[in-house]
């Protein structure tokens, strides 16, 4: 369990993270979603003690990261796929990391195999592609076999094959009962991988909800119907106890419901149809709406401040 309490980070006059409080529960994939610049990376860096909070605190199972002995065995993090010395081989990079936390040397070979870069492990990392660097980053995170994993934008810049690999890996790691905290600026990515969702915008918490709840609340689905006989259509549906709403463009919308039943009802009523199609609002739209609000909110705040002067 990772607990953030009023976590705040200020860089000069900008508030990167603003009194953020939430918990990352064990055994779940928690998606950490926010637009670029929302404060995701800063938050993750504070969790592992790289950045010092301006206010509040974050603890891992009750203790600050810098109080954990041999922390790589407790928390594995991939915050920055770069961050290796270009003149050092991938194997040597993992080797010194392992030595620092007294992780057995054979574990280095295991993780190299696991992420599929064993063959290039002897090469200096200068020539690594982004995908290879990303895999090395994951290998470093897995080195101490930690129960908690933090991954900052792990699919960023990967080709489709790499993206699929990361997704599968995260699911597998979650199935092993690990806690996974993964950030992204793409809702679609979260919808696939996350059990739980934490959304932030401009450093503030916007949502802390299970993925299922978020989908229920935001993924509206409806049936769109077009017909040259609107009166007969409404009568037929009303007869079957189905409510339809007329849209501005003259089409009709039936909230929820299934297409087969609506189609059958309208056929029995002898209504001519030009269209009968299921529709879904995307989670991406819901996310954009949510973060737009945070942008609007702060723009408004600025306007008020301006007016006060």
């Amino acid at each position: 369990m990772i607990t953030l309490t009023d976590l705040t980070k200020r860089y000069g006059s900008t508030l990167a993270v603003d009194r953020l409080s939430f918990r990352i529960r064990p055994g779940l994939v928690t998606g950490f979603l926010g637009p670029n610049g929302a404060g995701k990376s800063t938050t993750m860096r504070m969790i592992v003690g790289l950045d010092r909070p301006t206010g509040g605190q974050v603890v891992i199972d009750g203790s600050r990261y810098d109080r954990i002995g041999e922390p790589l065995r407790r928390v594995g993090a991939m915050l920055d796929a770069q961050g290796t010395h270009g003149g050092r081989s991938a194997r040597d990079h993992l080797r010194w990391l392992a030595q620092s936390n007294r992780i057995p040397a054979k574990r280095v070979e295991e993780v190299l195999e696991k992420v599929g870069i064993a063959e290039v492990a002897g090469r200096r990392t200068r020539g690594f592609s982004l995908g290879m660097s990303q895999r090395l980053g994951i290998a470093a995170a897995l080195l101490g076999d930690p129960p908690i994993l933090l991954l900052d934008e792990p699919v960023n810049g990967l080709d489709p094959e790499g993206v699929r690999w990361i997704r599968t890996l995260m699911r597998n790691l979650a199935e092993e009962g690990r806690t996974i905290f993964v950030s992204s600026h793409l809702m679609s990515e979260m919808a696939i991988t996350a059990d739980h969702l934490v959304v932030i915008g401009r450093g503030r918490l916007l949502a802390d909800t299970s993925m299922a709840e978020f989908i229920d609340a935001n993924a509206r689905s409806w049936i769109r119907i077009r017909s040259p006989q609107p009166e007969q259509l409404l009568d037929a549906l009303a007869g079957a106890g189905i409510t339809a709403r007329r849209d501005d463009d003259g089409t009709f919308e039936v909230e929820g419901g299934d297409t087969e039943r609506v189609g059958d009802v309208l056929a029995e009523g002898g209504v001519t149809l030009h269209e009968l199609s299921p529709r879904h609002a995307s989670l991406e739209e819901a996310f954009i709406r949510m973060t737009e609000d945070s942008v609007e909110y702060s723009a408004e705040g600025t306007a008020h401040e301006g007016a006060a002067k």
């Binding site: 790289l50 920055d80 770069q82 290796t84 010395h85 050092r88 040597d92 620092s100």
Partner: protein
């Protein structure tokens, strides 16, 4: 204790696994020995044409260490590489995630690098001394002469401390360009020039390389302090910069 060993081992692997650091140490050795050899040979050939005063002041031990002036610049490069590459390559994030206690991380890094430099410096000092004195022949010094062994061991300690001082400053500045931009002109220009300016001269003798360098002389008359006191002054400068480096690491985000 076991964790201290683990940290030292990790830092040893870091240094060993990058070619540039190893090559820099070898270069420091070669540059120092070669420069000293050449200067000693030239000096020896022209000895007869020196003035009586120059002959009287002739300190074969110290003259044999003339290459240290150049070699220490290479060691400064080593210091900057070891510390600043953590920041330029962002390896420091991994380092601090693995070893979040800043003091332990810095202590391990500086201990390993300093130990390596100590070995290199001692080897350099004794090799340089041996070659230079064999060139000087009968005019040369031998380790048994008064003050000579102290000067040779002192030369090794001097180079080691200058490197450690440079690592301390690098930990404060973090940027290799900035660190080299401060250290190189200081050792090559600022410090030597200040010691020739009449009024400032006395104060300039307390600069780290001037005070510390005294230990490599056998003739130490005319100085306000003795050779070991000079080395202690260098230790003071070094301790101050290493402390500043530690405080920077503690205070600033990685």
């Amino acid at each position: 204790m076991r964790s201290a060993r683990a940290l030292l081992l990790a830092e040893w692997t870091k240094i060993r696994s990058v070619r540039s650091t190893v090559w820099t140490l070898i270069t420091a050795f070669v540059v120092t020995v070669l420069t000293s050899t050449v200067i000693a040979a030239v000096y020896n050939n022209q000895f007869d044409s020196l003035s009586a005063k120059q002959k009287a002041d002739f300190d074969p031990t110290n003259l044999g260490f003339i290459g240290v002036q150049l070699g220490q610049l290479v060691l400064v490069v080593f210091a900057v590489l070891v510390v600043c590459s953590e920041y330029t390559t962002r390896t420091v994030r991994y380092s601090l995630m693995a070893v979040p206690r800043r003091g332990a991380f810095l202590a391990a890094k500086l201990t390993v690098a300093t130990a390596l430099v100590l070995v290199t410096s001692m080897a350099t000092a004794f090799t340089t001394f041996g070659i230079a004195q064999s060139i000087f022949g009968a005019r040369g010094a031998s380790l048994g002469d008064p003050g000579v062994a102290r000067a040779v061991v002192g030369a090794g300690l001097y180079m080691t401390l200058i490197t450690l001082l440079a690592m301390g400053l690098s930990a404060v500045l973090r940027s290799p360009m900035l660190s080299l931009g401060v250290l190189m002109p200081f050792f090559f220009l600022v410090s030597p020039i200040l010691t020739t300016v009449p009024r400032i001269r006395t104060a300039a003798r307390f600069l780290p390389d001037q005070a510390g360098g005294l230990v490599t002389h056998v003739r130490t008359s005319g100085w306000p302090f003795g050779p070991w006191a000079g080395l202690a002054i260098l230790c003071g400068w070094t301790a101050a910069l290493v402390l500043a480096g530690y405080l920077t690491l503690r205070r600033r985000d990685a």
